[in-house]
């Protein structure tokens, strides 16, 4: 990630436009930055995007980063090395050639490792290339278009160089593993405490987690599933709840910038598990309602069945998207308001100070909101998963109504 701090040209800032939507803020910051006539520019859009996406290193501050292991599966075998191999002496990104497989790997700007070099003159560093105003902008657009076309081309070159599957321990995976380790330690020690002191009032860590466990049990699982079935699904619900909540909280720690639950591939797995459990535990009554809804005429069935089948997939997909989108949205707002300080500060120090005060006050508010969102999203995911499980395992007691 490259933060380029310098002055940006004067631009008519429109407050209403700025606040109209998060995405617009995102675009607005980027648009202002990219229209710079200077070489070094703070590109807020780039900065935010890089904070949100997964990476092969943990960026701490300035040029200090922690390398992470890279594990690549290729048709020539497995390659394992640290991502610091991609770091050049002047903090630039360099290719790495593996001795064992003979492959040369390129760490691209989007933090993906590919077998083809990146075209440095386009797209991902727009601010650096456009230096002469409108004509350069036009030029850049042409390059962007080239990138878009290049997307298809990429696949071809991949084919030419053979397969490459990235099994690296990325930032998100590391964050996830940290949380999992923490969960194992916390809950196994708590379980031991329960075994050691049966029937007694909770103590220490037990006090911290017991209210949440009881909350998930009494307010989520039991109402959705009933007392007996709740015990079957509670281990999954509790694991998912604490995993999401703790990952969300990890994402709020500024150092390291983990964004575990904002990574779609991770929420995809959680949603898939919900889908698999719902399908496996689904009883005849559940499947019957989907494929042959009782009590409706035939032509309605023809319309209803595809909708029901689609809903099977839409429900977990919505779980996945809601979580990722909410976490990313929160991060975007926080990062955007942080960026405002730098953008205005680049214009004038005094303005930067003034904006900084308001932006900081707003950030404090946002952080409190995000603490709530971190819990709320974990709760919503767990609650909906419990409701889907309840739906799938419901006994058909309302048959007489038909």
């Amino acid at each position: 990630m490259k933060i380029k701090l310098n002055s940006i040209p004067s631009q008519a800032f429109s407050a209403t436009r700025m606040l109209s939507s998060i995405l617009l803020v995102f675009g607005f910051l980027n648009a202002n930055a990219s229209s710079s006539s200077e070489d070094k520019v703070f590109n807020a859009g780039e900065m935010i995007a890089h904070h949100l996406q997964d990476a092969h290193s943990i960026h701490l501050f300035g040029h200090v980063s922690i390398p992470l292991p890279v594990i690549l599966y290729t048709d020539h075998g497995l390659d394992v090395f640290m991502s610091s191999r991609f770091w050049g002496p002047d903090h630039e990104t360099v290719p790495y050639t593996s001795a064992s497989t003979g492959h040369t790997y390129y760490l691209h700007h989007d933090e993906k490792i590919r077998l083809t070099p990146e075209h440095h003159d386009h797209a991902v560093q727009p601010a650096a290339s456009d230096s002469t105003g409108l004509s350069a902008d036009t030029n850049q657009v042409a390059q962007h278009t080239a990138v878009a076309a290049h997307g298809a081309h990429h696949a071809d070159t991949h084919e030419a160089h053979g397969t490459l599957i990235d099994f690296s321990i990325t930032k998100s995976i590391l964050g996830m593993l940290i949380i999992m380790g923490l969960m194992l330690w916390v809950f196994i020690s708590v379980a031991k405490a329960y075994n050691r002191r049966p029937g007694q009032a909770p103590k220490g860590l037990q006090n911290a987690v017991e209210p949440l466990i009881l909350f998930i049990k009494e307010e989520v699982a039991v109402p959705a599933l009933g007392k007996k079935k709740a015990l079957i699904f509670l281990p999954f619900l509790l694991t998912v709840f604490f995993f999401i909540w703790m990952c969300n909280m990890l994402g709020l720690i500024p150092l390291g910038g983990f964004n575990v639950t904002g990574t779609l591939s991770i929420t995809l797995v959680l949603a898939t598990l919900v889908f698999v459990i719902t399908s496996v535990k689904g009883n005849a009554h559940y499947w019957g309602h989907i494929f042959w809804p009782p009590g409706v005429p035939l032509f309605v069935k023809i319309i209803l069945v595809p909708i029901e089948v689609a809903s099977l997939f839409i429900k977990p997909a919505v779980l996945m998207i809601r979580l990722t989108a909410n976490i990313n949205a929160g991060h975007i707002v926080i990062l955007a308001f942080t960026s405002l300080i730098f953008i205005f500060g680049a214009k004038s120090e005094a303005v930067g100070m003034g904006v900084g005060i308001f932006a900081t006050a707003f950030l404090v508010f946002m952080y409190f909101l995000e603490l709530l969102v971190a819990f709320l999203q974990a709760y919503v995911f767990t609650l909906l998963a419990a409701l889907y499980f309840g739906d799938a395992t419901q006994e058909h007691h309302h048959e007489e109504h038909h």
Partner: protein
């Protein structure tokens, strides 16, 4: 503006692909790690914790139920005691009433008896007095009669000792008798 908008569009497209694309390496690690953690927690944490919580909840519920039962039992006992007390009081009243009536009966009977007895005693005393009086009177009469006879005898002896006087007396007596 349109150019910048387009810039933005390209950038969003570029990053969204990285942000929203599915990375199978991450899916693999997440799936594996999550399942391992899930089974470990299920076996070593959740089962113990949920069992302990369930047992404790059951224990608390039992204790509450027991307390409630004890309270009910107490109330029942209290109600029983009160009934018993009431009964005892009633019985006492009945006994007292009976005793009182019995006492009254005894007292009145005793009174009657005493009256009768005293009457009887008075009567017998009176009779005795009467008899004694009669006897005394008779005795006195006899005594007086004897005394009179003695006196008369003595007088007669004296009078008869003297012929004159004897004849006078005879006359007188005869006249008295005849007068009578």
């Amino acid at each position: 503006m349109t150019i910048r908008g387009h810039d933005f569009y390209i950038l969003i497209q570029h990053h969204m692909k990285a942000l929203l694309g599915v990375d199978w390496g991450i899916v693999f690690w997440t799936g594996t790690a999550f399942l391992i953690v899930f089974f470990l927690l299920k076996k070593f944490a959740w089962s113990s914790i949920l069992k302990a919580l369930e047992e404790r909840a059951q224990g608390i519920e039992n204790a509450l139920n027991e307390a409630e039962n004890a309270k009910k039992e107490m109330a029942k006992l209290k109600a029983g005691n009160e009934a018993l007390l009431r009964e005892a009081r009633e019985e006492r009243d009945v006994i007292l009433r009976e005793a009182k009536s019995m006492k009254d009966a005894i007292v009145s009977e005793a009174k009657n008896k005493a009256q009768e007895e005293s009457a009887r005693l008075l009567e017998s005393a009176r009779l005795e007095i009467e008899n004694q009086k009669k006897a005394a009177i008779t005795e006195l009469k006899n005594y007086v009669a004897n005394l009179s006879i003695d006196v008369a005898e003595n007088v007669l002896r004296e009078k008869l000792s003297d012929a004159d006087k004897q004849s006078a007396l005879n006359n007188k007596l005869l006249s008295d008798i005849s007068k009578n």
